[in-house]
């Protein structure tokens, strides 16, 4: 079973991605469905049998999701390559604009240690570490910086200029 980094701990993932084998997760796992699929076949997802999460691709229009956001306990945002930066804005918007309090999960091939600080500071709290990357190193990477100029989610949205994060 997949393990994810959740609040600084490596835990067994209790969510499945749409299309994954149900045996890949513990019983009762939630299901993460791409926004595109939810919009293409809304009737299929009107009364889901399990908890629903939504998966956002870089080019997805976040505004399409916002009216429905209360339906989702989890939002997964894709980072398919290290230079794809739209996911950071998606995360910031969900946390600071919309006030999304659920699980914000970074997924994709680029979710490795060198992205961790920026991801955490934009509001992610769960990381599906890319295959082949060392989760412990990712955990360590979260402590690379003890200061920041910009206020961020890690600062509990105090939004002060030039702050020392209490934790990241």
């Amino acid at each position: 079973m997949r393990r994810v980094l959740r609040r600084r701990e490596l835990v067994v993932d209790d969510w499945l991605h749409w299309g994954e084998n149900a045996l890949a997760a513990p019983p009762g796992a939630g299901l993460i469905v791409p926004l595109k699929e939810l919009r293409a076949n809304p009737q299929d997802w009107a009364t889901p049998a399990q908890a629903l999460g939504v998966r956002i691709a870089p080019a997805d229009k976040l505004e399409d999701l916002i009216p429905d956001l209360a339906r989702f306990a989890l939002v997964a945002i894709e980072f398919p390559s290290p230079t794809e930066g739209r996911g950071y804005s998606h995360a910031r918007l969900l946390r600071s604009r919309v006030g999304f309090k659920g699980e914000l999960r970074a997924v994709g091939a680029a979710v490795k240690r060198d992205l961790m600080v920026a991801l955490a500071r934009c509001g992610f709290d769960v990381y599906e570490i890319a295959p082949g990357e060392d989760p412990e190193a990712c955990l360590d990477a979260l402590s690379r910086y003890s200061v920041a100029y910009q206020a961020d989610w890690g600062n509990d949205l105090t939004l002060q200029w030039r702050t020392r994060p209490t934790s990241m």
């Binding site: 794809e84 200061v147 939004l159």
Partner: protein
């Protein structure tokens, strides 16, 4: 100048540690070249023809003498004893060894310097008017705001991987000496009716492929909103800028596609929507940063004409290489990095060390970098000018050619850069040779030649009065010539005069262009004025008539 506090220093130190680990992993084979690339680029490190190139940030072009001494020592210890100043007020080292770059960064951090975001698809070094704080035509010193923007942009978590590079320039004077209208964002300081500071915001300028001039999207942005508004622009760009085609990824393409009015609407909508969560700029922080840029302790002096009763060589230097100062008894002194026979913008460690000492002695220990690849001592007493000139001349830093034909801008070109199509250093040298007669240069007067080795336009060729762009043609180095570009008050993009010319013909073509000007100029007209009056045709005819005759 700004001095780091504990937060600034800790951040830079931790960045060095992070990059040391990334470099170690790359050298150990734990990171592929593809994975390491965006990581090293975010720290100013390119892989070039012969070696890596390290671009060191000089925020808004301001250096202390200690910093310049450190750059000299680094260039000696880790490189070949020289560095190259760029059009974005940075310094490039052309021969460092990759494994030792973390050590260079550590030495830089010890004097409050870094290479953070000097390349890569992120917010780059913020640039400013090189006469900031001393120019008589200035509304207010832009550098405190540059420093605030530098901090805001440094390791900004949301704008870590933009569609493309992003350049910001700030000016506080009537004349735009920072080429701000060809930056992704140009900020022009303004005052409102009550005298409060704010900014006119221009967006979408840029050189490179499809050059564009920035358009105003906000006439007056109150200071407290500066970061919130920048964040709104960056968020719109980060979300909607193109990522499918590197040549269409700059913000200028987004602005052009949407139109300035719609782009402005998007930014304003984002700005309003983000109000509750946008970064506020506390006035106490503005005051804290402004305090670092208080004027130095000037003496109460009267203006004198320092050129009276001096020899003609000094008078020429005084005329071309010094500028008026807002404080009586002082002048700003250009340090020419355009000595004939030297690549434009290059400076040896010995010259840097000597200049640092001179700055300590004569200009409050500060040195500035101008975007045209010269340096300045901004605060020299007029009574010290002759001695300053002698000292600069000893180091070959007093070529009296600022603003003249041989004060060319040139990128490093094919000799160093792996992006270049053609050489620039050898062409600059050939032009310098052809125009080596100072009296001829003085007769030609003010003219800006700007040369780039490829379309990326690091040499700003589009905005040269004469632009020279290296192109590759059947494996040979050819050059496309443009006329009529300008920045500094009137921003215009040059027009191509016709088919490109071979390398050996470039100096003669420039002489042809100059001769048309000399024949047609009216009293008091500069090259660019004559061009604007008579147009392209006479220049074009002369260049191609003589080429056809020779062929």
């Amino acid at each position: 100048m700004y001095r780091y506090d504990d937060i600034d220093q800790t951040l830079v130190d931790q960045r060095v540690r992070e990059f040391r680990d990334q470099t170690r992993r790359f050298l150990a084979g734990e990171l592929s070249e593809e994975e390491f690339r965006p990581l090293r680029l975010r720290n100013g490190l390119y892989i070039q023809r012969h070696a890596p190139m390290l671009r060191i940030a000089i925020p808004y072009g301001l250096l202390s003498s200690d910093q310049l001494r450190t750059l000299a020592a680094i260039a000696t210890r880790y490189d070949r004893g020289y560095g190259h100043f760029t059009t974005r007020q940075n310094l490039q080292l052309n021969w460092p060894e990759l494994a030792r770059v973390p050590d260079i960064l550590e030495e830089l951090a010890a004097v409050q310097m870094h290479a953070i975001q000097t390349s890569g698809n992120c917010v780059r070094n913020v640039t400013a008017d090189h006469l900031a704080g001393v120019a008589p035509d200035e509304l207010d010193d832009p550098r405190p705001y540059c420093e605030i923007i530098r901090q805001w942009a440094s390791l900004h978590p949301e704008f870590t991987y933009l569609p493309r590079k992003f350049k910001i320039a700030v000016t506080g004077a009537a004349a735009d000496r920072a080429a701000s209208e060809v930056h992704d964002i140009g900020l022009h300081m303004r005052r409102d009716g009550a005298g409060a500071i704010g900014f006119e915001v221009l967006v979408g300028g840029g050189l490179g492929r499809a050059p564009a001039i920035g358009q105003t999207i906000c006439e007056f942005l109150p200071l407290a909103e500066l970061l919130a508004y920048l964040e709104a622009i960056l968020r719109v760009y980060n979300r909607y800028g193109r990522r499918d085609n590197i040549h269409k990824a700059r913000i200028k393409v987004l602005v052009k596609t949407l139109g300035a009015a719609q782009f402005r609407g998007e930014v304003e909508a984002e700005w309003r929507a983000a109000r509750a969560s946008a970064p506020q700029l506390p006035l106490a922080e503005v005051e804290r940063v402004r305090a670092f840029f208080k004027p130095p302790p000037y003496e109460a002096l009267a203006d004198i004409d320092a050129s009276v009763a001096r020899d003609s060589e000094f008078r020429a230097w005084y005329r071309y290489n010094t500028r008026p100062h807002r404080v009586p008894g002082y002048r700003a002194v250009f340090v020419s990095l355009k000595a004939h026979g030297r690549p434009p913008g290059d400076m040896s460690s010995q010259q840097m060390t000597a200049l640092a000492a001179l700055a300590d002695e004569r200009s409050f220990g500060l040195i500035r970098v101008a975007h045209d690849q010269n340096l300045l001592l901004a605060d020299v007493r007029q009574q010290d000018l002759h001695d300053t000139w002698l000292a600069l001349r000893r180091e070959q830093l007093a070529t009296p050619n600022i603003g003249l034909l041989t004060d060319m801008i040139a990128c490093p070109g094919l000799d160093y850069c792996s992006l270049a199509n053609a050489g620039t250093i050898n062409v600059a040298r050939d032009i310098q040779q052809r125009f080596d007669d100072l009296d001829y240069l003085y007769d030609i007067g003010e003219i800006e030649i700007k040369m780039s080795g490829c379309m990326n336009a690091c040499g700003h060729h589009h905005v040269g009065h004469i632009g020279v762009l290296g192109v590759e043609k059947h494996g040979e180095e050819w050059y496309q010539i443009t006329l009529g570009g300008s920045v500094n008050g009137f921003t215009a993009l040059g027009e191509v005069i016709g088919p490109s010319v071979p390398q050996r013909a470039v100096p003669a073509v420039i002489e042809d262009l100059v001769e048309v000007y000399r024949a047609q100029r009216a009293e008091g007209e500069r090259f660019i004025d004559t061009y604007r009056r008579v147009g392209l045709t006479p220049f074009k005819e002369r260049v191609y008539a003589s080429r056809a005759a020779a062929a």
